[in-house]
């Protein structure tokens, strides 16, 4: 069985590890910060570039490159924002870090803020994590008392403070420009890009870096072990470890930290997670949070990898890194792996997902606002016993009218599950129509 390689969650689950600063210091806490202050900000940035670190929030964008886009000539203050809105269904990794080891995040943030020269940092935490917000605020208070935060940190001449800001419970606040709007006190309507790229016109129209919790923690470890050493974990282009969150029909769901590409989907499910429930067969896997495209158990995935080598995978062969699920036509997203066995009604599963996205659509732009709600109504009606033959194609068509035409990536997040579910399980959608007990022209069961 593949062994976990814990870097981020190294101490989190140790029985005597507590989240207070004394315990953190006992385990070498804030030593890396002192090391970082001996470096130049640009040197830290170079280490992050060398490490090949990719963002852990979902898009997998190279972190060093993101920092490079910062507009340093504007003369405006630079802000660092930690995206702790972790709201993708199937994802619960950042919670572990913040609840069990908050000082690791704070240390990572101070180092990152030092590197990008941000004097003010924010942790935007999802509204439902009220306990997490309290934990972080306590931790920040402890760090301030020990002079790790505030004016002239450890006599380095660098000053920085962190403010914890709780959201009000909206998925869209995980989108970085929506998050920024919310942080400014407005409705979290994502901004149009161009011109509002956060690195140029972010928080308060100032250059801003928004990074995920796990990403910022990784910065600490990169400074500790150097970017070069970090890049040796995993494979080129897929460096470091990732925390995978496995949920659904497996015997041991949970979070597991492995080097990128350090194991396959099969090893993860059948060995690490103890396999499916007894007597069950795999039906489908969503590899990267509910917005990722679903993978069907009996699919074959063929193509060429970035390095030119050809691959021919079954679902168990997909390597768990950034590029593996992407090569299979989906994405690793935020690392939320959702397992569905043969007890799953695929139409109901989709109905559940569309209900989520219809509820969470911010309502700013037309295709997402109207289209996603429409998809919810159709899938709900199908589950209610009034499915029609044309519903599958209609769902596909609506999803196609949303994808790529919205202000933010929510359009894709809502369209991809529909496209992939309907496309790959069309027979089940058609079967629904054939066995549907009610058939109405109006689409409204109550009017029949």
């Amino acid at each position: 069985m593949p062994e976990e390689h814990r870097i981020i969650l190294k101490h989190a689950d140790e029985p005597d590890y507590t989240r207070d600063i004394d315990c953190y210091l006992k385990h070498g806490g804030y030593e890396i910060l002192q090391k970082a202050f001996k470096m130049k900000p640009d040197e830290i940035h170079q280490e992050v570039m060398d490490s090949g670190l990719r963002g852990r929030g979902g898009a997998g964008f190279p972190t060093g490159l993101k920092w490079k886009f910062l507009d340093r000539k504007s003369g405006k203050p630079i802000y660092l924002v930690c995206n702790a809105d972790e709201s993708e269904p199937g994802t619960f990794k950042d919670k572990q870090i913040m609840y069990k080891d908050p000082h690791q995040l704070i240390e990572g943030m101070i180092i990152s803020a030092f590197s990008i020269q941000a004097k003010q940092a924010f942790i935007y935490i999802r509204g439902e994590f009220f306990e997490g917000a309290r934990i972080l605020e306590e931790a920040i208070e402890e760090a301030r008392a020990k002079k790790f935060l505030g004016e002239n940190i450890l006599n380095s001449g660098f000053s920085c403070d962190i403010v914890v800001h709780r959201g009000a419970g909206a998925y869209i606040c995980g989108e970085e420009t929506g998050l920024i709007e919310s942080l400014e006190g407005k409705r979290p309507y994502p901004r149009i890009k161009p011109p509002y790229f956060p690195a140029v016109l972010g928080l308060y129209q100032s250059p801003t870096i928004v990074n995920n919790v796990e990403t910022l923690c990784n910065v600490k470890h990169i400074v500790e072990m150097t970017g070069k050493e970090f890049s040796k974990i995993g494979s080129p282009g897929n460096t470091g470890t990732r925390i995978w969150c496995v949920s659904g029909h497996v015997q041991k769901p949970g979070y597991y930290e492995f080097p990128c590409g350090g194991l396959t989907m099969g090893e993860m499910i059948n060995e690490v997670c103890g396999g499916l429930m007894p007597g069950r067969k795999l039906k489908a896997i969503i590899p990267g949070g509910s917005s990722a495209k679903v993978l069907r158990a009996d699919e074959r995935f063929k193509g060429k990898l970035k390095d030119g080598s050809e691959f021919d995978w079954g679902i168990w062969d997909i390597p768990l890194d950034f590029d593996g699920p992407a090569a299979a036509g989906s994405m690793s997203g935020s690392g939320g792996i959702i397992i569905m066995d043969d007890s799953t009604d695929i139409v109901q599963a989709l109905s559940n997902i569309t209900a989520f996205y219809a509820h969470e659509s911010c309502g700013q732009c037309t295709p997402c606002r109207e289209g996603v709600q429409w998809m919810r109504k159709i899938s709900k009606r199908m589950c209610g016993g009034d499915a029609r033959e044309e519903d599958a194609d209609l769902l596909l068509s609506i999803a196609n009218q949303i994808e790529g035409r919205t202000i933010c990536a929510f359009g894709e997040a809502a369209a991809w599950p529909v496209q992939s579910f309907v496309d790959k399980f069309k027979d089940e959608f058609k079967a629904y129509a054939e066995t549907s007990p009610v058939s109405s022209e109006s689409g409204d069961k109550q009017l029949v």
Binding site: E360, S361, G363, T366, R405, T406, I407, S442, G443
Partner: protein, 560 residues
């Protein structure tokens, strides 16, 4: 009038058609230069860009260059290769750049437009038969032009409030709202009264006033104008009239010296509403709520609609004859008005010259709002200066006139519109003098007048005003005046004829023949050739005057 006139034009390609456009504009505006329409809802030329309706999706590409060397990448045929963005982009936030290519009619663009149209309509009620916006609704127009023509939606539509009172003049039908946010941005960016916002989310989003606020500022009805659908409706106009029955006449608002350009909407001689007319040098696309009420003066109780001599009804000829007799025999003075058109002021000036009568004007200065309501509440003070009806700014009171009346130096007054009681002249003084009153609304002065000469409102005649930026703007007759009344120009012309016995101009064209030959500022102008956007005049001779206007939307005071 464009500021871009001197800048170098940029060549772009709209559906492969080369067109030169001013730099810095967006693709929606640029496409117009190629005669192409990019449909849009949320974009408004005078508001910030939010890109939420997605109706202006189009394809865009720019000439490719090698990333390393910067040298252009060429096609085999020698033209520069175009790097097309793989996804459709919105036209409103796409600033054009040299060599940019855009497609407005490709299959992908059509598919986007059909998709967005379908989405906009899935929760939109089929209210068109009872909707005030019908006939001037972008949703109707674009559904016809860019929609599929049928709907695939068979689910239940969302239900929202149908008649929310947002303020004293605006009623909201939330089901019709397409959430374009134009009204919200108008409040934030133009009126600077941030009272509107969205509540709820997703397709249940609803427009509402912020708690304990209502949409009651003096620009609230502009939200109705810019609403692309029938969601925001004018409470005054709601359910009154189908817009396609209405005739549009360009006019000028007489509320202040700004001279807001308007459209007067009338049917069968009755005015139903007034809306702003775009003029980027005067009022952009806005106007005040208060200015929209002015048409109600046409049929007001106080309206003067009969010629009278000493309180008895008379015909026009007799009244003018009596007026001429009194002026000729008395020691006259004239109280003229900034409400008079340039042409009327010119004729008044001629009468004054003939009688050798002093001309007085009263000031109507109030607080301005910094936007479209200036301090000078007379639309044509500058016209009086240009026609040399007066050489100084209007006076706060007419006490000088009062003294002359006391001393007997003046015993006959021709009063245009003003109420002398408000201007420091007593009832006693008025009773002692012969008063000829020319105006549209009755007041205590008109009630005491020996001769009453009823005039026409700005909606019932042709003429021109000079606004605070010395822009000459014309207004045109929208509706006929009350039976038996004649245009003020004709009235003053006939009066002048009676006084002098000479041939005098009695219509607007003959007045302009004299104006253009007499005054250098008016040289070359005839009424017909005053452009609809107005004509800037030379106001250099008047810079030393202490005009009351402070900064407003399109005005920067010289002496500040």
């Amino acid at each position: 009038m464009s500021d871009n006139g001197d800048q170098e034009l940029v060549e772009i390609f709209v559906d492969d058609q080369s067109v030169k456009v001013p730099p810095g504009i967006n693709a929606i505006e640029a496409a117009k230069f190629a005669g192409k329409e990019i449909p849009h809802y949320c974009y408004h030329p005078k508001l910030s860009v939010v890109g939420n309706c997605r109706m202006c999706l189009m394809e865009m590409g720019t000439p490719m260059r090698d990333r390393e060397t910067g040298t252009p990448i060429m096609e085999e045929d020698g033209s520069q290769k175009i790097g097309w963005i793989p996804k459709p982009v919105i036209g409103c936030s796409t600033t054009i750049s040299p060599g940019m290519h855009i497609k407005t009619e490709s299959n992908l663009v059509k598919d986007c437009q059909e998709g967005v149209m379908e989405f906009l309509l899935v929760n939109h009620p089929l209210d068109c038969p009872i909707c005030d916006q019908a006939g001037e609704c972008s949703l109707q127009e674009f559904a016809m032009d860019y929609g599929r023509g049928y709907s695939r939606y068979t689910e239940r539509k969302n239900v929202k409030p149908k008649r929310t009172r947002l303020g004293p003049r605006v009623t909201l039908d939330d089901e019709r709202c397409i959430l374009c946010s134009r009204c919200i941005r108008f409040g934030q960016e133009i009126a600077e009264e941030d009272v509107l916002g969205f509540i709820e989310r997703g397709s249940f989003s609803t427009l509402a006033c912020h708690p304990n606020h209502e949409l009651d500022h003096n620009y609230s009805l502009n939200t109705v104008d810019i609403c692309p659908v029938g969601a925001l409706t004018s409470t005054d106009f709601r359910f009154k009239m189908r817009v396609w029955f209405l005739k549009e006449t360009p006019s000028i608002c007489t509320e202040s010296s700004v001279g807001t350009n308007t459209l007067v909407w009338s049917r069968e001689g009755k005015i139903h509403r007034i809306t702003p007319r775009r003029n980027d040098a005067v009022n952009d696309t806005w106007m005040t709520d208060s200015g929209r009420e002015y048409y109600k003066r046409v049929e007001a109780e106080s309206r003067l609609n009969q010629f009278q001599i000493n309180g008895n009804t008379a015909d026009a000829g007799a009244a003018i004859q009596e007026a001429a007799r009194l002026l000729d025999s008395g020691r006259s003075a004239i109280v003229a008005s900034g409400q008079q058109s340039v042409e009327e002021q010119y004729l008044t000036k001629k009468i004054a010259d003939h009688l050798n009568a002093p001309v007085y004007m009263a000031r109507h200065w109030e607080k301005g709002d910094g936007l479209l309501l200036s301090e000078d509440r007379m639309p044509n003070t500058r016209g009086a200066l240009l026609t040399q009806l007066t050489t100084k700014l209007p006076q706060e009171t007419l006490s000088e006139l009062g003294e002359k009346m006391n001393s007997g130096e003046i015993d006959t007054l021709l009063v245009v519109g003003e109420n002398l009681i408000d201007l420091g002249i007593s009832n006693e003084q008025i009773n002692k003098a012969n008063v000829l009153f020319l105006g549209t609304q009755s007041n205590s002065t008109s009630e005491e007048a020996n001769v009453l000469l009823p005039g026409l409102t700005v909606f019932e005649k042709n003429g021109s005003f000079v606004n605070l930026n010395f822009i000459l703007q014309k207004f045109q007759q929208a509706v006929p005046g009350p039976a038996g009344l004649i245009p003020d120009i004709m009235l003053l012309g006939k009066l002048l004829h009676r006084l002098t016995g000479n041939e005098t101009p009695t219509n607007i064209n003959s007045v302009w023949e004299e104006l253009s030959s007499k005054y250098p500022e008016f040289t070359g102008i005839s009424f017909a050739n005053i452009p609809t956007e107005g004509q800037e005049l030379d106001g250099a001779n008047y810079t030393q005057l202490d005009f009351p206007e402070t900064k407003s939307l399109k005005f920067n005071p010289v002496n500040s």
